[in-house]
């Protein structure tokens, strides 16, 4: 088991290194000089040279790469070209905002999806099965901004029940982050984005769970459990679902990884200052340090979650824990 963990960990690190190299090359290949963003043409040669030097842009490429690797490892992610502030603290701030935005919605989506999937598999072909599949697929197929804007039109502009965006009412800054999280104002602002995210991400865990369940329900040990006279609910949840959960866990870790960085549309619709929006802006502005670090962070989260998934397999599936096929 320890050998397994160590192997998976090394694999994760290697993947991360590969990502770092690819990111470095990718950003240097982008057309357009990053210095053009911060060096307004209003500045003369001396000023431009000065800013170039301050940001380390005048070093040869291979030197930039070595500095890049060293900084990545030591979490010294440089300074943003546009704001001059340390990237690590900027990203930390945006990541927290995105996590606040996404976590409730994703947890709800996965939890509701799992429960619905189980129920759909129990009564295959029934009203719930067909109805939930259709509704779920419609929501997933719809672009995120459509769902978000529809919710805004109905509940915010129409019924005036919820605010139109932002993390909290302007001017009502409660001070510390903890006070923010527990304030009713913040939760009020969280409702519509959460509904949007839940609607968007519901269908994947739901359908995966359903299919996984159907497969499991056809296996011998489930039939045996039924034959023993256990109640249908017990068979369903304690025996079948636990085994079907493996597939959903895998899929969930993938969703979580992409959801962290990919929410630029929802963040724009709800004026939420998160990582998705920051990444897109950094890429457009050729803000290399921020864009590189943000993509790297996202890759690290996906790889990390994959690693955790691998570990959790050993909890869920005794066959892996005991090392046999």
């Amino acid at each position: 088991m320890t050998a397994y963990v160590v192997r998976r960990f090394c694999a994760a690190l290697l993947t991360l290194l590969g990502v770092a190299v690819i990111l470095f090359i990718l950003f240097r290949l982008m057309p357009g000089d990053p210095t053009a963003q911060i060096l307004s043409p209003a500045l003369d040669e001396a000023a431009q040279a000065r800013l170039k030097q301050a940001f380390g842009l005048d070093l040869p490429l291979w030197q930039q790469f070595l500095i890049y690797l060293k900084n990545l490892a030591t979490l010294e992610w440089g300074r943003s070209f546009t704001s001059g502030q340390p990237v690590a603290s900027l990203l930390g701030h945006w990541l927290v905002n995105t996590l606040l935005l996404m976590s409730t919605g994703l947890i709800l989506a996965i939890a509701i999806g799992i429960v619905l999937g189980i129920m759909m598999a129990a009564r295959r072909g029934g009203a719930l099965d067909i109805g939930a599949t259709v509704v779920g697929l419609v929501f997933q197929a719809a672009p995120p901004f459509v769902i978000g804007i529809l919710l805004l039109i109905t509940f915010s502009y129409g019924m005036e029940l919820f605010p139109s965006g932002g993390m909290f009412t302007p001017g009502a800054d409660p001070g510390s982050t903890w006070a923010l999280l527990t304030s009713a104002d913040f939760l009020h602002h969280l409702v519509l984005p959460t509904l949007t995210i839940t609607a968007l991400y519901l269908v994947t865990p739901m359908l995966v769970m359903r299919d996984s369940m159907l497969e499991v329900l056809g296996s011998d040990y489930v039939e045996f459990a039924r034959a023993k006279g256990l109640s249908p609910a017990r068979v369903l949840f304690r025996h079948a679902a636990r085994n079907a959960l493996l597939a959903v866990v895998t899929v969930s870790s993938l969703i979580l990884g992409f959801a962290i960085g990919g929410q630029v549309v929802i963040e724009t619709v709800f004026s939420w200052p998160g990582m998705g929006k920051a990444m897109v802006e950094a890429a457009l502005q050729h803000d290399y340090p921020v864009a590189q670090a943000a993509f790297f962070l996202m890759a690290a989260i996906v790889i990390g979650l994959n690693f955790l998934t691998d570990l959790s397999y050993s909890l869920l599936d005794p066959r892996i824990r005991l090392g046999s096929a």
Partner: protein, 541 residues
Amino acid sequence: MDRREFVIGAATLSANAAASRIAYAQQTGAPVEKRSIITSTAQFDPARPEIARLVAQACKSLGWEVEANPIDYNQGIQKVIMQHDYEMFLVALAGSAIRIDPNFFVYAVHHSGEHKRGGFNWMGYKSARLDAVATVQSRFMDLEDRKRPVFEAQEIIFADQPGTVLAYPQITMAHRSDKLKGLIPLLGEGIGSFWSDINMEVTGDGYSRSGMNVDVKHLNPLAVNDELEFKELSIIYDRLFRIGPDGKPVPWAATGMKVVDSKTIDITVRSGMRWHDGKPVTVEDVKFTFEYQKKWKAPFFLAALNNVVAVELPGANTVRIRLENPSAPFISNVLAAMFLIPKHIWAEIPDKAGIDDPLKFPNDKPIGSGPFKFDHWRRGSELKVSAFREHFNPPKCAGIIRIVYGSHDAIAAAIERGECDRSRYILSPALVDRLKTVKNVVARGYPSHGLYHLSYNNAIKPFDDPAFRQALNHVMPRKMISELVLLSYSDPGASIISPANAFWHNPAVKVPAEDVKKARDLLAKAGYRWNAQDRLLYPRT
């Protein structure tokens, strides 16, 4: 006729035809090459690609093929301004406060010495006459004396057409009339101006909620180089002079100024001013401000400060600035732009702050002496400032909360709902049109001296021929651009100094007639011809 005569006749006819074709070809030159217009993408500015396409379409009427080429904004800057690798460039020259002084549009954009990597004369315009006039105007300290060369410069530039002014767009903004009163617009800034900020009265808790779709990048007065930061820092920090609502500099932290001689300026500093932490503002702080920014090469003022030889303190309230060369724009471009910074805080930076460069100093809690003091900044969400009651001209409102929205649409929706009471800067014209009909919302265009400019690369054909450029002047679809693309929140352009800048604008420079025939006549007179397919051909060399 017999066969022999027929053959001789046919051969003669063919020979004649061939000869005359060759003769015709020798009378005309090669076809004028297809050219492209570099401009920003629609995501950056929805108007620009549309304007470029209209211009390309109009050039077809001359038998000349042009295409629009929207590319990433940074790429455009790189190619045009850094490398001078372009043919035509459609750009919006923004109407910022320091460009009200004509030096920018006349000197920086057209003087041949400014044709360098990163300079504003990317067109490569070279006119000895313009160079002389532009230099002369920058040396006259008296406004009336300066007017004459500025007027002359506008006429020269318009006649030569190194590039062409397409439109004078207004700044479209919106605000709620039931929440805000007493807004005072400033040329080029609309109701988001400093004068609005300190004079407006706000209902409710007295805090105005002003919306913007982009957050400030930082709050460092040394590293500032962008209108976004200038605007917010200018209410927290004070300046010796400010550009008044009419566009002329007025004394502010200074009470007066004396031009001792053309290279020496004496400024009387107001007494009794305080920093936000309570300490008094002294002439030492003013001297320190100039010397510190020069020492650390503050990017925006680097060029201007290189002209400052020394800053002396001859009297209790007087600061004497010695310049190397006389400079008329010094007052509006430096004295009315530079932020006064407290010596007791900045003298310790960067050493005590653990960094090597004050440009990197986060300045999380800026201490200035302006009419608003910093309250808090939640990155990406809001920036809050409150009125500083000890200021010599305190604001009428309680403060301003600058809110970051996801998009222009979100700002407009928030204004409609009443969550936001003012757009801090430009709101897209289409949204302003829509907001016009909403009750209690005032949505309109405000005068600006900015302009849409089509620059030609004067170093390449056919733009090296003044006659060609002058002909182009008459086919530019100015009316369509202002009415269709800019939704009538704009006027057709002519002079490089906008009529919105009433003092410096030369009314003798008029919008040219859109007349294809006139353009063709001008071209024909210069030797251009058209072939059978109506393709424009160069003059015979």
